[in-house]
């Protein structure tokens, strides 16, 4: 081992000393910064991952929408089935309706679904909390959990639906009679907006309520595993004739603004928390500078023994690198360990502050999601080690500039 690496190790972990205080404090600073970065980006990644999963689970990976109504739903689905990568399709129609239960009104978004096909594209069954998806027929409705809670509706309750078509009838002095539907299911996706303002009916009910005839608004598409949704969407657009007046969009494209905000939030957190590492790097710089001043005569001695300035610099630079490397490893361990026990920690904290219910109500999660992306970890490790090594550069430069004769005179 070159002497400058050997001496750097000895200065960080001196012979005979059980607890190297300076090293421990410096390593702890870097470790805390890295741990915080790993935890924050993983939790942010977890939220993002859950939200992405929820979008795909409720909309499918690709959605084909018409510029207006799609009259030939069967023809469109048949054409989609020929596109490579398309596994299943399910049509939908949608619109806002007025809903009333025991005098309490609401204005949810209504989705008309093909009960026989929807399960092939989105795992709707998984989100049903009460009742059954199979019970949905033209006289029934499935409502979202928070909407049910706010209305006081339960399985078996009968709700009244007012559609824009009824308003049209009213203009013609026709009698305004709402459609009465029986609640056969309550679903919960885990998203505040969807769980408080969406209801599901059969495609036929929706077509009747909106006077669509046999037309639909779009088709949700499931693609083969591991295929890129953007690639399949492009293929579908290539296969659709211009006359179809419909366009396929991947879930990423359809939600690009939302995904951009998610990524921006994550990047901002990364950027802000990187300052913790920078602050700890300044502390490493400060400690190493003090070390250079304290060891001025030793640096002079090394020069007198034949050490070159660049080797003296390497000795101090390596200390920064080593503090960074050990601190980063310790921080990774601390961060991943904390993430492993995150739910126990959150549960303990919410029990202490009696806020468990608030957490579930506002954040939708009783368990804290986390998704640690290898790319994020790689970036954190690289940033931490590079910043810590840079922290050793200034002390190293100062040490290299010391002339042995002046350093030895420093009594």
């Amino acid at each position: 081992m070159p002497w400058y690496l050997y001496l750097a190790l000895k200065q960080l972990f001196p012979t005979g000393r059980k607890f190297p205080f300076f090293t421990a404090i410096s390593v702890l600073g870097v470790a805390l910064g890295v741990a915080l970065l790993v935890i924050s980006t993983s939790v942010m990644g977890g939220f993002g991952y859950e939200i992405r999963r929820m979008i795909v689970d409720t909309q499918g990976e690709v959605q084909v929408r018409g510029e207006g109504l799609i009259a030939d739903a069967a023809g469109l689905q048949a054409r989609l089935a020929t596109v490579p990568g398309v596994v299943a399709t399910t049509p939908f129609a949608e619109g806002v309706v007025g809903l009333q239960y025991e005098g309490k009104p609401a204005y949810p978004a209504m989705q008309g679904i093909d009960v026989n096909r929807v399960g092939q594209v989105v795992p709707l069954e998984r989100f049903i909390r009460a009742g059954r998806l199979d019970d949905l027929d033209d006289d029934s409705i499935i409502i979202s959990s928070k909407l049910a809670l706010s209305l006081g509706a339960r399985i078996g309750s009968r709700v009244e639906i007012y559609s824009p078509l009824l308003l049209e009838k009213l203009k013609n002095d026709e009698v305004l009679l709402p459609r009465e539907l029986r609640v056969v299911g309550i679903f919960e996706v885990g998203h505040q907006q969807l769980d408080s303002s969406v209801v599901l009916v059969t495609l036929r009910s929706m077509q009747e309520l909106y006077g669509l005839g046999a037309a639909i608004h779009g088709v949700n598409v499931k693609i083969a595993p591991k295929l890129d949704a953007d690639v399949v969407a492009t293929r579908i657009n290539g296969a659709l004739p211009p006359a179809a007046q419909a366009r396929a969009r991947s879930w990423m494209e359809a939600n690009q603004d939302f995904l951009f905000i998610l990524q921006l939030e994550k990047n901002m957190i990364f950027f802000l928390l990187t300052f913790i590492i920078i602050v700890s790097a300044f502390s490493v710089t400060s400690s190493l500078l003090i070390s250079v001043v304290r060891k001025t005569r030793e640096i002079g001695l090394l020069g007198a023994l034949g050490a070159r300035p660049v080797q003296v610099a390497a000795c101090f630079c390596f200390q920064g690198l080593l503090i960074g490397a050990v601190g980063t490893l310790a921080g990774l361990g601390l961060g991943l360990g904390t993430l492993h026990f995150r739910n126990e920690l959150v549960a303990g904290f919410t029990r202490l502050t009696a806020s468990e219910e608030v957490l579930v109500r506002f954040y939708q999660f009783s368990q804290l999601p986390a998704h640690t992306a290898p790319g994020d970890v790689g970036l954190i490790v690289a940033c931490s080690v590079v910043i810590s090594t840079l922290a050793g550069l200034l002390p190293a430069w100062r040490a290299a500039r010391l002339k042995p004769v002046e350093a030895l005179r420093n009594e």
Binding site: L7, G16, A307
Partner: protein
Amino acid sequence: MNEAILTARGVRKTFMSGDRRLEVLAGVDLDVAAGESVSIRGESGSGKSTLLQLLAGLDAPDAGTLAWAGESDTGTARRGRFLGIVFQSFYLIPELNARENVLMARRILGPIDAAARKRADDLLAKVGLAERAKHLSSQLSGGERQRVAVARALMNSPRLILADEPTGNLDERTGDAVIELLLGLCAETQTALVLVTHNAAHAQKTHRQLVLRSGILVHG
């Protein structure tokens, strides 16, 4: 006559003290032969340490020439192999034990091997510190620290040892012992020695006694 190990001709050094030019060395001539010991005495501030630093190649003279074994290369790379230096303040590295401090002189020149380790142990035994090889410098007395510094100076089998008041921080008895040790080891290994000292008795033990007076060396 023995080979000339150190040759200095007309070495001059001037320092600025405010607006005043202070000529510390005004043309020093010095020849030291292999195995020879030379003492240099002088009043405080006479320029003894400055002369030693110039002889060690740690600083450059304003004028004059210097040669080690006839070669004018007194650079860093050659210094570690050609000469050993003993300072008044020992300058041991506190994070290292006695053995590691001695070995440091060799480490700086390149990787150490079993032979180097054995030499360090032998040298520590010669200076009477075999039992204290694993002690940190903070666990050693002043005399012991200086003996470690002597062993370190001899580690690379140098041709010349420059000792700058090596007994300055030691009591008389310990100082005498260190000088005896230094002279004995230099004689044993035919290493030339330049000893800067205030102590006339120590100076008398060397082959040749010089005094630095008014910036030049004269016989003492």
